[in-house]
């Protein structure tokens, strides 16, 4: 809502010294969000005068048509002689009244006017357009042609009210009444403690039977309908400058007098109005729901197919308007230029149901000034006054005659009352306002208040948002000033800090960052393209995605089922920007459709099953079953962690050579994460997209005694690397933290530390190349028995000495007993049983044996 300060002063006698910024501060304090204060005509300096065009000489030989004019500017130029002006615009004729800026003046934008030579003539000033005067761009770029009644030489700065301040207010959805001068004026009056001149206080004739016939078939959708008729309008009558200027400052286009008047009254009183050309209506006006599929061409020229829930205005031929949203083209008011122009109008001032209007506006993607107001609540009592005000202006400005007939339909309604303890606002605020203040403040916003300790409050018709005691409390507290609220601290019960799960998530982030990974937070939107690039099979579970109805991009309509697309995107972006040695990580949710029973069977399997989260009531607590039902309809959203690596893991430098990131780093990242949970994962070779089939590790943890897959790690498949334009040998890891959490096995049991000396034994075992190191290690551990303190693989060797297809694994075994110093014989015996078990399980042969 744009509010010109000059207009606001018509209803509230603000001190003359009050600036727009002052009013802004006051209104913000009471809850109207004044976003900006625009200074119109800022920097403007005259002389700026009304001129009458005396002669026009068309200058030839230039790229565009140029006119040399003489203009009578009265005595504004000091001489009374005609002013010679060169002008490029063509929308005026000899005899027209125009606005002339004379040398010495300054236009907005620090544009100083001086006599200057141009097109072979000297131009002593300029004939002005709206945008040059800072009146807003009306789209025509033509110069202003004034109504003929103004005398040449009249000061145009004052005439056009060029210097003003306009408050731009972002009206919150509950404050529909503030979408009017009346509403803003009421808030201003209260904020300043000044009286309000309410523009809706008009003498309105009583309804009678002679008015234009109206039949309301849906009194719930339309609770109020006033129709008035004005005849004998002069079609050539134009909106006076003051009205045009107010409309312009409020951000509306001027159209024709009748339309301008309805817009003006809407801005003034907040009541949307519609004017019909009476000669174009056939029979009585009706209000009903549309028939499904009915058609209507609205004022914007769009042919609309109506829904059975749309409320329409009709005549005998069918719909003539989308009620409360937009009128129909057929009954539009005709301008004087076209046809004969409209001379008789029927004025509609009605009240429509907010929800119905909201739905229709949304259904037809048609938001209008009218629908915006109805959605937010229009004062149902304002219709008659608004109709009267419109009639008055049509009579005054268009020479019309008001017909005596007054049609008024009004569905029965009672004023809304709220019972509230007088100290309720005190309890909400934590301040002792006292009953007297509470009553006074409520009266200021228009409430009637009765009662002592228990107040009975009747809310004003323009405040449908006031429905409960807390709404009234807010009125009192905001008018008493939020800035005057004290500051106190409540004492919550002693807390338990973070949960184990929350602490684990934080630890994992720190551990990965500590290992050199940088966190990225990528968008979860994906499309089929990236799933193809990842080389996923047609029946891969990750292709079953949760999709959005309204994605930002049609290329990425789904939610991620893996963290890798986003993270690999970040890897590529960094690489493209010149950072080549990269280790990134992300933790976040993936979105998995609830299993439809047939896992991985694709979308067709979903047919016949409706996925839907029901809408529960809000007037009571839902039952636990109802909540469980809601949750069951949601996608499964487990938390995952992923890393990606490329380039050098260790840089080369003065200390020696660097080391490229490889598959082992990605597996180690999974171990780093598992270690934070106190879990040691089992690693097995796997083939799983998008990883290299020979360099892919599956990671398992034990959950409830069962080995459970918790993710994959390794080098990416070369084709994936190529298709995604990633650096060569890029590696990745992705694990599911929700699985890891389940593997957490209580508090760690402290190890017993022996202080007896250690006995070290090294063994080198030769096995076939395809025997996993993990299997050899397990056999050694199992075979070595309790004396084994630790075991470490310190070398892997292949070569001629070992033989084709074989490898040598060298382990350092450390033995120690809790109660004695081990003899060499004891350590050797333990080593031998370890080697024997490895030989039995994996075919290992002691090297050199």
């Amino acid at each position: 809502m744009r509010v010109p300060l000059s207009w606001l002063r018509e209803y509230v006698d603000l001190p003359a010294t009050e600036t727009g910024r002052d009013v802004q501060a006051k209104l913000v304090a009471v809850g109207l969000e004044v976003e900006t204060v625009e200074q119109t005509g800022a920097g403007l300096k005259g002389p700026l005068a009304v001129g009458q065009v005396l002669t026009i000489e068309e200058l030839e030989g230039f790229k565009k048509p140029i006119r040399f004019c003489t203009v009578d500017v009265g005595t504004a130029n000091g001489t009374g002689e005609p002013q010679e002006i060169v002008c490029g615009a063509r929308n005026f004729s000899v005899g027209d009244k125009v606005v002339v800026v004379l040398p010495g003046a300054v236009l907005p934008g620090d544009f100083a006017i001086a006599a200057r030579k141009t097109y072979g003539k000297t131009s002593h000033g300029m004939i002005c357009s709206t945008d040059e005067l800072g009146m807003g761009d009306d789209g025509t770029h033509g110069i202003i042609v004034l109504p003929p009644e103004y005398e040449p030489g009249t000061d145009a700065i004052e005439l056009l009210e060029l210097v003003d301040e306009v408050l731009d207010i972002a009206v919150t959805p509950d404050r529909g009444y503030a979408l009017s001068m009346r509403g803003v004026a009421r808030e201003t009056a209260v904020a300043y403690g000044l009286p309000l001149r309410d523009p809706a206080l008009l003498d309105v004739p009583a309804p009678n039977a002679y008015g234009y016939p109206v039949k309301v078939s849906d009194p719930i959708g339309c609770g109020n309908f006033t129709a008035r008729t004005v005849t004998g309008l002069r079609p050539e009558a134009r909106s006076p400058i003051w009205m045009q200027r107010r409309l312009q400052k409020a951000g509306m286009r001027t159209v024709s007098l009748a339309v301008d008047i309805t817009n003006y009254v809407m801005l003034e009183l907040g009541q949307p109005l519609h004017a019909y050309d009476r000669t174009r209506i056939d029979g009585p006006i009706g209000v009903r729901r549309a028939e499904q599929g009915e058609k209507l061409v609205t004022l914007d020229g769009v042919k609309r197919v109506l829904d059975a829930q749309d409320l329409v205005i009709t005549d005998d031929r069918g719909p003539i308007g989308l009620a409360g949203v937009m009128g129909g083209a057929h009954t539009e008011i005709a301008d004087a230029a076209e046809d004969a122009g409209t001379t008789e109008v029927v004025i509609e001032a009605a009240h429509f149901d907010a929800i119905s209007i909201a739905r229709t506006a949304r259904r037809h993607k048609l938001s209008s000034e009218a629908s915006r107001r109805f959605e937010r609540g229009v004062d149902p009592q304002a219709a008659a006054a608004a109709a009267q005000r419109t009639v008055d202006l049509l009579v005054l400005l268009a020479g019309g005659t008001a017909e005596a007939g007054v049609t008024e339909f009004s569905a029965p309604s009672a004023p809304h009352t709220i019972a509230m303890p007088a100290d309720h606002p005190d309890k909400v605020a934590g301040v002792s306002y006292g009953r007297e203040t509470v009553v006074r403040r409520l009266q200021q916003v228009g409430c009637d208040v009765y009662g002592q300790d228990e107040l009975i409050v009747t809310v004003p018709s323009w405040r449908p948002d006031l429905a409960a005691p807390n709404d009234l409390a807010e009125e009192v507290i905001r008018l008493e000033g939020y800035e005057n609220l004290p500051s106190t601290l409540p004492t919550p019960p002693s807390g338990r800090g973070l949960t184990d799960r929350q602490r684990l998530h934080r630890r994992i982030g720190r551990a990965l960052a500590g290992a050199g990974y940088v966190e990225a937070l990528s968008y979860p939107f994906i499309g089929d393209a990236v799933l193809d690039q990842l080389g996923l099979d047609a029946d891969d579970a990750r292709r079953r995605t949760v999709k959005l109805v309204n994605p930002l991009s049609d290329e990425e309509p789904a939610l991620r089922t893996t963290l890798l697309p986003g993270l690999l995107g970040a890897l590529r972006r960094n690489d493209g920007r010149g950072s080549h040695d990269l280790a990134l990580f992300e933790t976040g949710l993936v979105f998995l459709p609830q299993a439809p029973g047939l896992a991985g069977a694709g979308e067709t399997a979903l047919a016949g099953e409706e996925t839907k989260a029901v809408r529960l009531p809000v007037d009571r607590r839902p039952t636990d079953e109802e909540i469980a039902g809601l949750d069951a309809a949601l996608p499964r959203q487990p938390r995952r962690a992923a890393v990606v690596l490329a380039g050098a893991r260790e840089q080369a430098g003065w200390w020696g050579k660097g080391r490229p990131a490889d598959w082992a780093d990605s597996v180690e990242a999974a171990r780093t994460i598992a270690r934070e949970a106190g879990v040691e994962p089992t690693v097995r070779a796997d083939r799983h997209a998008p990883w290299h089939p020979g360099r892919c590790a599956a990671l398992y943890v034990t959950v409830n005694g069962e080995e459970t897959l918790f993710g994959h790690a390794g080098e990416l498949h070369p084709r994936v690397i190529k298709d995604l334009h990633l650096p060569e040998r890029s590696c990745a890891m992705e694990v599911e933290l929700d699985v890891l959490e389940q593997a957490v096995d209580g508090a760690l049991q402290a190890p017993r530390i022996s202080t007896f000396p250690v006995a070290t034994q090294d063994v080198a075992l030769v096995v076939a190349e395809d025997v996993p190191a993990d299997a050899v290690e397990r056999a050694l551990r199992d075979g070595a028995g309790e004396l084994l303190e630790s075991l470490r693989l310190f070398d892997v060797f292949t070569g001629d000495q070992i033989g084709e297809g074989r490898k040598s694994l060298a382990y350092a075994l450390r033995f120690r007993a809790a109660d004695r110093t081990l003899t060499v014989e004891e350590a050797s015996a333990a080593r031998d049983t370890a080697v024997a078990l490895a030989a039995q399980r994996t075919g290992a042969v002691l090297r050199g044996a």
Partner: protein, 379 residues
Amino acid sequence: MSAPNKSYDPVEVEALKPEEIERLRDEAFAAFAAAGDLDALAQAKTAHTGGTSPLSLANREIGALPPQAKAEAGKRVGQARGAVSKALAARQTELEAERDARVLVEEAVDVTLPYDRVPAGARHPLTTIMERVADVFVAMGYEIAEGPEAEAEWFNFDALNFVPDHPARQMQDTFFVQGTTPDGKPTTGDESGIVLRTHTSPVQARSLLSRKPPVYVVCPGRVYRTDELDATHTPVFHQIELLAVDEGLTMADLKGTLDHMVQALFGPDMKTRLRPNFFPFTEPSAEMDMVCYVCRGESVGNPDRPCRTCGSEGWIELGGCGMVNPKVLVACGVDPEKYSGFAFGFGIERMLMFRHNVEDMRDMVEGDVRFTRPFGMEI
């Protein structure tokens, strides 16, 4: 021990003459002093204290002396050998010190050499600032609550008093999740009843349903709105929400809690300001501002000292807050006659932007390591 020598001839034991012992001693002294390094000293040691050194030989001669001469000669030789030993040890210490000093000089390195063998990692500043804010409240006794990002509309809107078709519901540009119609076709509107949560507020409802009052929770998390990414907007962003429901909570308590938060995060003399506003799930509702922590309001009306952080407004807009609407309490099964509560929420991106002078939203979403790395582990 050998048997006492019975036959001896003192005249023949020239080596035990006092002047001779002195000479041997002085020779040793001279040799030690002349030894320039530990190797030379080792040679001198062998020559002057070894088994075949003159003094050792002289020592052996003592046995051949007559008993009456033994004591005196023994004393003389013993003293000389002691002095030599001492001199040797002293020289040894001296030379070792010299050597150590030399080695330490030789082993000196250029300690200004850079070391970036494994470049440091970092957590995202949005993560760490969210934790930091949450920890302010955890320290006060609040607990951290979480919820799903793909959320039931009932939690995201209905339970929070966003009435269907109310304009407030349209204010938040919502991503709707596709459902399936009874005949298996994807839905095209909001029929699925599932959205990407537009705020962290649904966690309020979840917390009230899963806990018994008093409830004091803080809910950090990721939220979604259908904005295109540009310098000031992102469709995926983060909020932190606070909810307190207890007996007798007031707006003054809300104000005090906000003041405490900005003081904990921005310094002891910070304060907040409330301005009336509208949110369906709070009544009364307010917009909350904090004093600009950079200019402390001194840039207002002072064109010579403009403040980039607050645009010379003196205040920084933080987010929305208010007293929990009793309708929300009813929908969550809490008796509004007995309990009242307050809630607030604000955008983490915005806080990071003004706290750390981030100019472009895209820097926070693109995952560029050059942006994130300097923030390190904690913020």
